[in-house]
C-alpha cells in the first residue's frame, strides 16, 4: 500500500505493508532512531512522536492510519525554539539519566504544553503519565518541564 504523509515537515511517499508499525517504519525505513522501542505495547512511551501535534505511541499505530497526517520526530523537532527551551530545562533540572525514555518525554512535554501552556503540577504529572522512566523517580523530569515553561515563555 502506498502511504503519503508529512515527516518532519517534508512530504513522503512509501510503498509498504499497511499493517507495519509506524515505529518500525520510522526506525528502519527512514532511519529515525530517536524513536525507541521500550515495550511494544503502548505502555512506556519511549516510541512517542507527534501525530498532528499530539503525542502518540508509534508501536500502536499501523502505518496505514497516518495517510495524509503530519509526523514529527525528534530529528525534526530538535531544530525548533520550543525544543531548545525543553532541552535547557531538562539539562538544568537533571531530567536525564540513562536517556532511553528521554525523547519520548520531550515529545510528551511538547504535546502537553501545546494543549495547555500553563499546566499545574498535577496536570504535568498527568500529561507525562503515559511515559515510563525507571531512573529518575520523575521529580526532576517534572522540574525540567517547569523550567522549560519558564525558558520558553510565549512559545506555546
Amino acid at each position: 500500500m502506498v502511504i503519503e504523509f508529512y515527516l518532519n515537515n517534508e512530504k513522503k511517499k512509501i510503498d509498504i505493508d499497511a499493517s507495519a508499525r509506524l515505529l518500525d517504519v520510522l526506525r528502519e525505513n527512514f532511519g529515525l532512531t530517536s524513536v525507541k522501542e521500550g515495550c511494544g505495547e503502548g505502555e512506556c512511551g519511549a516510541c512517542v512522536v507527534l501525530v498532528n501535534g499530539r503525542a502518540m505511541n508509534t508501536c500502536m499505530i499501523p502505518v496505514a492510519s497516518i495517510m495524509g497526517k503530519s509526523i514529527v520526530t525528534m530529528e525534526g523537532y530538535k531544530h525548533t525554539d520550543r525544543y531548545k527551551a525543553i532541552e535547557t530545562g531538562f539539562m538544568e533540572a537533571g531530567s536525564v539519566q540513562c536517556g532511553f525514555c528521554t525523547p519520548g518525554f520531550v515529545m510528551a512535554t511538547e504535546s502537553l504544553l501545546n494543549q495547555n501552556p500553563n499546566p499545574t503540577d498535577d496536570e504535568i504529572k498527568e500529561g507525562l503519565s503515559g511515559n515510563l522512566c525507571r531512573c529518575t523517580g520523575y521529580n526532576m523530569i517534572i522540574q525540567g518541564v517547569r523550567l522549560a515553561i519558564e525558558k520558553g515563555a510565549g512559545l506555546w
Binding site: G94, G99, C101, N131, R134
Partner: protein, 698 residues
C-alpha cells in the same frame, strides 16, 4: 581555592540523549547483519527428546550447543548455566537454540515450525517446596557471640517471618547485544554493566586467545543489576552465531522476551527468633534467610552473602546467629538487582524491630534508637565500625523535616507514617575488591587527559562523576577530560559497574592518580599513569568463616514515608518521602539526588505495586501491561538531603550511594502502612487485595 566537588554541574551526556542522537545498540547498523531469535523451553523441567527442524532456507542458520567452540557454560560466580540447553531444560524460557538470518519475517516463520518434544519431569516451583525437598544450592552460616547459650537461657522469645516477591528491573532499554568478527578478532557490542565479565565468559565459551576478544559497551539505557551477569549469556549466544556464520549478528530482545528470561530480584523468606534481656533490649537474634535462586545458582551466592551480612541492620546485637540458603527451583534464575540481597533483609530487620516495639507498647523509633551501632562497635561479622555513625544526626534531621512525631499523633485512620533506618556496605563484599584488583589509567596528552576505565555510564552519571573528579583534582575544565571508549581492548579492568563501587573505588583510584599527574603536569611529552586498587591494610576478612570486615565502610540513611490508604479500594497513595543520607561527600548534589529519587521510586514500586508471581513455573506477568511500575502519578515529591561524613579513602570523601535508596525506602513504606491500619505488614509487595484481607482480620 576551596574545592567544592558537590556543587552541581550539567551532565556531560544529557544533550545527545535529549535530542535523540545517542545511539543505543538497537540503533547500530552493521553491513550484512543477521538477526538472531532464541528458541526457549516452554516447560519447567524436562528431558529434550527431539528437536525437529523445518527445511532451513539458504542464508539461515540454526545455532545450538553443538556449535559452542569452548565450554558450554556461562562464566559467573557459579558457572552452572548452559549457554545452550544440552539434554534437559530446567526452567521456562531457558535458551535452547538460535534461528539466525537476514529477514526477521522469515526467521519467525522458521521459529513457528520448530518442534521440540519433551519428557516432562516433576518440577519444584516454590520456596516452600524447595525447603521441604532441601534443594539447597548454597548454605552459609556465621555467628557472633554465644547465641545458642542465650537462647537456651532466655525465657522470653519472639518469632517472626517476612517474605518478599520478585522484582523486574524494567530498564527502559531492553537487553541488546551484537557480535562480529573483524579478521580473526571477535568484537561484541552491547548494553552492559561489566565488559570484563562478558569478556571472561567469552574466553571460556569461544576458546579464543585473550587478545582476540574485544567487548565494547554501548550507551546503556538503564541496568540496575539486570545487565550485570545476564549479558554474559547473550554475548555468548551472538558470538557463537557470528563464529558459525561469519556475519555480524544482532539480537535485541523485545520487552516480553526480556521479562520472560532475564534475571530478577530474589524472592525471599526471612525468619527471626529474638531473645531479650531484662530491659527488653534485643540480646540475641537467630536469622534464617531463604532466597529463591531459580534454576541455576549463577551469581546468587554473592547476593546471599550481602543479604546475610545485612541481616542485623543498623543495630548492635550482642549475639547473632545467621544462616542463609539459596534454593533451587524450576524458575528463571534470580540475579543481581540494586541492593543485591540487602533490601530483603533490611526489610526484615526493620519490620521486626517495628513489630517488637508495637508489641512492647513503646515508640518504634525510640526502640530502634536504643540499639544503634556506633563508632568502634563490632559488626555482626565481628568486624569493626570505623567511621563515625551519624545516624543520630540523620534521624534528628529526618524527623524534623517530616514533622514525624506530630503526624504520628495527629494522623487519622488510613493515614500512616513510618521510618526506616538502614546502612549499605560500600563496594564488594569480603575479599571482592582485592580479587578484582581494579586498575585504572590516566593518560595526558598536552592539555587533554583521558581516563581509561571499564566502569560504564548506564544512566547513573558515572561519566560525569569520574570526569569531574579528575578535572577538579587537576584543576582543568571538565571538557579537557575525556572518558575513553569502554572497550576491553583499550581500557584496563577497573572492575564491574556494580556494588555502588564506581565512584568510591574507581573514583578514588582516579583521584589518587590525578594527584600524581598534577605533580608532573609540566612534562611536555605524552605520558600515562596506571594504578591498582589496594585494600586498606587494617581490614581483615576470613572468607571461610565469614568473620571480619565484610566492607571497608558503610553508607547510612533514614527515610520517612507518609501514606494514605483508600478505605474502600485499599489502594496506597504515597504522600511524601523524606530521606536523609550519609554517603560521605556527594560528588554532585543534583546527580546524587536524582540517583536517590530514582532508587526510592524503584523501592516504592517493589513495596507496593510491582507484582510478579509464578504459577507452575510460569510467570503470570509478561509485559508492562501486567507488570506495573510507578508512573509520574504514583511518585510524590521526594525530599533528599545529605549529612557530610568524609571517608578518607573515598575521592573527596565520597562513599557508596547507588543502591542505598532502594535498600532504605521499602520498610519505611511498610511501616507507614502498618501504622495507618494498626496492623502488621510482613510481606512485600503490599497489594490492595492483601491489605484488605489484613485489615479485615488477617
Amino acid at each position: 581555592m576551596k574545592e567544592n566537588i558537590s556543587k552541581s554541574i550539567l551532565r556531560v551526556d544529557s544533550r545527545k540523549k535529549i535530542n535523540g542522537e545517542a545511539k543505543y545498540i538497537s540503533d547500530w547498523k552493521f553491513d550484512n547483519v543477521l538477526y538472531a531469535k532464541t528458541i526457549r523451553s516452554t516447560v519447567a523441567k524436562a528431558k529434550i527428546l527431539s528437536i525437529t527442524l523445518p527445511e532451513i532456507p539458504a542464508g539461515y542458520y540454526i545455532v545450538d550447543k553443538n556449535e559452542v567452540p569452548g565450554i558450554n557454560r556461562m562464566q559467573t560466580v557459579v558457572s552452572d548455566h548452559p549457554v545452550f540447553a544440552e539434554n534437559d531444560v530446567q526452567y521456562i524460557g531457558q535458551p535452547i537454540l538460535l534461528v539466525v538470518g537476514p529477514d526477521r519475517e522469515i526467521i519467525y516463520s522458521i521459529v513457528a515450525k520448530i518442534e521440540i518434544q519433551y519428557k516432562e519431569q516433576e518440577a519444584l516451583f516454590t520456596l516452600e517446596e524447595a525447603e521441604k525437598k532441601s534443594t539447597v544450592f548454597t548454605d552459609y552460616h556465621y555467628r557472633k557471640g554465644e547465641p545458642e547459650t542465650v537462647f537456651q537461657q532466655s525465657g522470653q522469645l519472639i518469632e517472626d517471618e517476612f517474605t518478599t516477591g520478585y522484582q523486574e528491573h524494567v530498564y527502559l532499554e531492553p537487553q541488546g547485544i551484537a557480535a562480529e568478527f573483524k579478521e580473526d578478532t571477535l568484537f561484541v557490542y552491547g548494553s552492559m554493566q561489566c565488559p570484563f565479565y562478558v569478556k571472561n565468559a567469552l574466553l571460556d565459551t569461544m576458546d579464543l586467545p585473550e587478545d582476540k576478544i574485544r567487548v565494547v559497551q554501548t550507551i546503556t539505557g538503564g541496568a540496575f543489576g539486570g545487565k550485570e551477569e545476564f549479558p554474559s549469556l547473550t554475548a555468548c549466544h551472538v558470538a557463537i552465531a557470528a563464529h558459525k556464520t561469519r556475519h555480524p549478528i544482532m539480537m535485541i530482545y523485545d520487552r516480553s522476551e526480556d521479562i520472560l528470561c532475564s534475571t530478577k530480584r530474589h524472592p525471599s523468606k526471612i525468619r527471626y527468633k529474638v531473645a531479650f534481656d531484662k530491659n527488653n533490649q534485643v540480646l540475641a537474634l537467630d536469622v534464617d534467610v531463604l532466597l529463591n535462586a531459580g534454576a541455576y545458582n549463577g551469581l546468587s551466592p554473592a547476593v546471599l552473602q550481602r543479604a546475610i551480612f545485612a541481616a542485623g541492620g543498623v543495630y548492635n546485637i550482642p549475639h547473632i546467629n545467621v544462616r542463609g540458603r539459596n534454593f533451587m527451583t524450576n524458575a528463571v534464575p534470580s540475579g543481581a538487582y540494586r541492593g543485591f540481597g540487602a533490601p530483603q533483609t533490611i526489610f526484615g530487620i526493620e519490620m521486626l524491630f517495628y513489630n517488637i516495639a508495637v508489641k512492647l507498647g513503646v515508640d518504634p523509633l525510640e526502640y530502634k534508637m536504643r540499639h544503634l551501632l556506633k563508632k568502634n562497635d563490632p559488626t555482626s561479622t565481628g568486624g569493626q565500625i570505623r567511621e563515625e555513625v551519624k545516624l543520630p544526626e540523620i534521624i534528628k534531621k529526618v524527623i524534623e523535616k517530616s514533622d514525624y512525631y506530630n503526624k504520628l499523633k495527629t494522623n487519622k485512620k488510613y493515614q500512616g507514617i513510618g521510618i526506616s533506618l538502614f546502612l549499605h556496605g560500600c563496594g564488594f563484599t569480603g575479599k571482592g575488591e582485592s580479587v578484582i584488583n581494579g586498575k585504572i589509567t590516566l593518560e595526558k596528552n598536552k592539555d587533554i587527559v583521558t581516563l581509561k576505565v571499564s566502569s560504564v555510564e548506564m544512566g547513573q552519571g558515572a561519566e560525569t562523576a569520574l570526569r569531574k573528579i579528575v578535572a577538579q583534582t587537576l584543576k582543568i575544565p571538565i571538557e579537557n577530560v575525556i572518558y575513553g571508549e569502554v572497550d576491553t581492548g583499550l581500557v584496563p579492568d577497573s572492575g564491574p559497574t556494580v556494588a555502588s563501587r564506581t565512584t568510591m573505588i574507581v573514583g578514588g583510584l582516579l583521584r589518587e592518580t590525578a594527584m600524581e599527574m598534577k605533580t608532573r603536569w609540566n612534562e611536555t611529552e605524552q605520558f600515562e599513569i596506571s594504578k591498582r586498587y589496594e585494600h586498606p591494610k587494617y581490614l581483615h576478612w576470613d572468607d571461610d568463616n565469614f568473620s571480619g570486615d565484610a566492607y571497608p565502610v558503610y553508607s547510612w540513611g533514614a527515610n520517612v514515608a507518609e501514606v494514605e490508604i483508600d478505605p474502600v479500594s485499599y489502594e496506597i497513595t504515597i504522600k511524601n518521602i523524606e530521606a536523609v543520607y550519609d554517603v560521605g561527600v556527594p560528588i554532585d548534589n543534583r546527580a546524587l539526588k536524582g540517583q536517590m529519587q530514582g532508587g526510592i521510586a524503584q523501592g516504592i514500586g517493589w513495596a507496593t505495586i510491582e507484582v510478579m508471581e509464578s504459577e507452575n513455573g510460569k510467570l503470570k506477568q509478561s509485559n508492562l501491561t501486567d507488570y506495573k511500575v510507578p508512573t509520574s502519578m504514583d511518585i510524590p515529591e521526594i525530599h533528599c538531603s545529605f549529612v557530610l561524613n568524609p571517608y578518607e579513602f573515598g575521592p573527596f570523601g565520597a562513599k557508596c550511594a547507588g543502591e542505598l535508596p532502594s535498600v532504605g525506602v521499602p520498610p519505611a513504606v511498610a511501616e507507614a502502612v502498618a501504622n495507618a491500619l494498626n496492623k502488621t505488614i510482613n510481606h512485600l509487595p503490599i497489594t490492595p487485595e492483601k491489605l484488605m484481607e489484613i485489615d479485615n482480620g488477617n
